[in-house]
Symmetry: C2
C-alpha cells in the first residue's frame, strides 16, 4: 500500500505510527503542500527507514507515484484544496482537521468526494485516546443514562507558532484548529443532536500572533433540552510541565463521567471508579481497515463532514457574536 | 447586638458560626418565615446556648424584640418579602441568596433599602472560602494579568428536597438557587464588566422534583472581549464521598488559576504552585463590621443587587432560550 505525505504542519505522525506496526504500509514520497513549506526535516527522518522520495511539488508526486493514500497536513486552510486534488485522482485522503475552513470549501470537498471512488477522513484522533474511548464505551454501556450537560476543554501553551498561524486566511481560527476536537467530542456523545450554537473568541494575550484567537467559548443547546460547552485557550503558561490539558465532563441522568489527566473517572449511584482504559487503536490503521476491509469506522465521511460544518458554524457564531440555529 | 432568625431553609449557620466567636452577638428569637415552616429543631439546638425565644409569627417577633439584625432564610422566593418587612422597621438584613427571584421583587427590595436606615447583604458566602479568597488575592496581585476566560462550576447531589423546591414560584429555579454562586464569582472577578448572557436549563433527570432544573449552562460575553461560563448541576450521583464540587478556572494573559477540591492552584510563566490559603473570615462578622465599624465589605448592597439582577436575567435567558444584552 503506497502512502505519500503532503506537508508537515500537522499530525503526519499518526500515519507514521501505523507504518511502524503495519507492514503493508509503504511510505514512498513526501512533498510540501505550499511552495515555502520545508519538509526536508521529515524527509531526512524517514529516509533511513523507508524507500522514500522527496518532491518539490505534490501534484507531480501524485501523478508520478499514483499512491493509494495521501496523508495531507499542510497550511491548515489549504488541506482542503490538496484533498480535492487527491480525490480527483482517486486517491484516498487522510486529512488534518479541519478538512475545510469555510462552508464553500466544505461543499467543494463534498462534491469532489461524491464524484470520486476514494475515501477520506479527518485526523480527529483524540477519539482513539484510550481514556476517551473508555469514556465512550461507558456511555454506550448505559452508565451515564441520558446526557444532559457536557463541558469540554482544550488548553495549550502558545509558544512561538509559524507565521501562517497569524493570518485567519491560512490558519482558519482557533475554534477550527484547536476547538474542533472538543466540538468533535460533543458531536460524538450527542450523536450530533444539537439545535443551536453561540460562541465567543478573542485575540487578547496572543503574544503578537496576529489574528490568532488566544481563547474561545462555545455554547450549544442540545435537541434533548440539555446543553454543552467547549472552552478553548492557548493561555497555558510555561511554568507547568504539562503542555496541553484536554478535559471532558459529562453529566447524565445516571452517571457523571470525567476525562482528565489521561484518565476517565465515573461516578455512579454505587461507586466512583477509574474506567479500565480502552485498547489503543491507531486511527490510520482504522482508516485503512475501513477502506479495504469495510470495517466499522467512527470517522466516516458523513461524520467528519458534519463535525467540520458544526465547527465552522461555531466560528461564524463567534465572529458575528450571534446565535446560529443548526 | 440582638439577632433574630427567620426561617430555617437556608444558611442561618453563617450567623451561628459568628455567634460562637463573637461575644457581642445575642441570638434572641426565631420564627418561621411561612406558616408551615418548622423551626422547632433549630430552636431546640439553640435553646441550650442562647436566651432565645420561639415565635409563631416573624412580624410579632420583630415588633416585640426590635432586633438589630434579622437572619432571613425561609422559602427562597419569600426571603425578599421578609427582608422588606425588616427594612421597613429599620432592621439590618442578612439574607439568604437570591435576595429576589424576580426583577419586580428586586426593585421593591431596592426601594425599601433606599427608604430605610438599615443595611442588607446576601449570603454569597463562598467568596470567603479560603481558596476562593486566595484566588481573588492572586488576581488582585496581578498574577493573572487580564482575565480572558472563566469557567465556573456548581455541582451537587440532589437527594430528596423539601416540596417547595418543586415549584418555580417558591424555589426560584436552579440558576438562582445554586448557580448564583458561580455567577457571583464571574461578577466578582470581572468587576461586573459583562455585556451579554445566554443560558439553558433542563429538568430532565430531576427525580420527580417538579419544576426543579437538574442542570444548566450559562454563557457570558465580557466587555473586554473575553468570555465566561457557569455549568450547574444536581446530577452528582450518590457513589462519591463528596457531596458538592465547586470549581473555578480563570485563564488570564499572565496566569492560569484553578480552584478545586478546596485548593487554589496557579500556573505562571515561572512555576505551578498552590496558593497559600487566605485567613478564614466569617461573612456575618464582616457584615457587622461593615454596618457598625464602616469597614470595607465585598458584599455591599450595590454588589448584591447587581449580582442578583445578573442571575435573574440569566434565568430569563434560559427560560426564553434567548440572548439578553446587559
Amino acid at each position: 500500500m503506497k502512502i505519500v505525505i503532503i506537508g508537515s504542519y500537522g499530525h503526519n505522525g499518526y500515519a507514521l505510527d501505523a507504518a511502524k506496526v503495519n507492514p503493508v504500509i509503504e511510505i514512498i514520497g513526501i512533498a510540501p503542500g505550499v511552495e515555502d513549506e520545508n519538509v526536508q526535516a521529515v524527509y531526512n527522518e524517514l529516509a533511513g527507514e523507508y524507500n522514500i522520495e522527496l518532491y518539490n511539488n505534490y501534484k507531480t508526486m501524485l501523478n508520478k507515484t499514483k499512491p493509494d493514500i495521501a496523508v495531507i497536513n499542510t497550511v491548515f486552510a489549504l488541506n482542503n484544496k490538496v484533498a480535492i486534488e487527491c480525490l480527483n485522482r482517486g486517491i484516498h485522503c487522510f486529512i488534518e482537521k479541519p478538512i475545510a475552513c469555510e462552508l464553500d470549501d466544505l461543499k467543494k470537498l463534498k462534491t469532489a468526494y461524491k464524484n470520486s471512488e476514494a475515501h477520506l477522513t479527518a485526523m480527529h484522533e483524540i477519539r482513539y485516546h484510550p481514556w476517551f474511548a473508555a469514556a465512550y464505551k461507558a456511555y454506550q454501556d448505559g452508565l451515564l443514562g441520558e446526557i444532559q450537560l457536557i463541558t469540554a476543554q482544550k488548553s495549550y501553551g502558545l509558544g512561538q507558532r509559524p507565521d501562517f498561524y497569524k493570518n485567519r486566511a491560512t490558519y482558519g481560527g482557533t475554534i477550527l484548529w484547536v476547538g474542533i476536537h472538543a466540538i468533535d467530542w460533543i458531536y460524538w456523545f450527542t450523536n450530533g443532536e444539537i439545535s443551536e450554537v453561540t460562541a465567543n473568541h478573542t485575540t487578547t494575550g496572543n503574544c503578537n500572533h496576529g489574528d490568532l484567537e488566544s481563547s474561545a467559548l462555545c455554547f450549544y443547546r442540545l435537541k434533548n433540552g440539555g446543553q454543552a460547552s467547549a472552552n478553548i485557550d492557548y493561555l497555558r503558561p510555561k511554568g507547568h510541565k504539562q503542555y496541553a490539558d484536554d478535559r471532558l465532563r459529562i453529566a447524565g441522568t445516571k452517571g457523571l463521567l470525567e476525562v482528565r489527566d489521561n484518565k476517565a473517572v465515573i461516578i455512579t449511584d454505587k461507586k466512583t471508579y477509574e474506567l479500565p482504559l480502552a485498547e489503543k487503536k491507531l486511527i490510520f490503521n482504522e482508516f485503512i481497515n475501513y477502506i479495504y476491509k469495510d470495517r466499522d469506522f467512527m470517522l466516516t465521511e458523513d461524520v467528519v463532514f458534519r463535525v467540520t460544518e458544526l465547527a465552522i458554524r461555531t466560528r461564524m457564531a463567534a465572529d458575528q457574536k450571534r446565535v446560529i440555529t443548526l
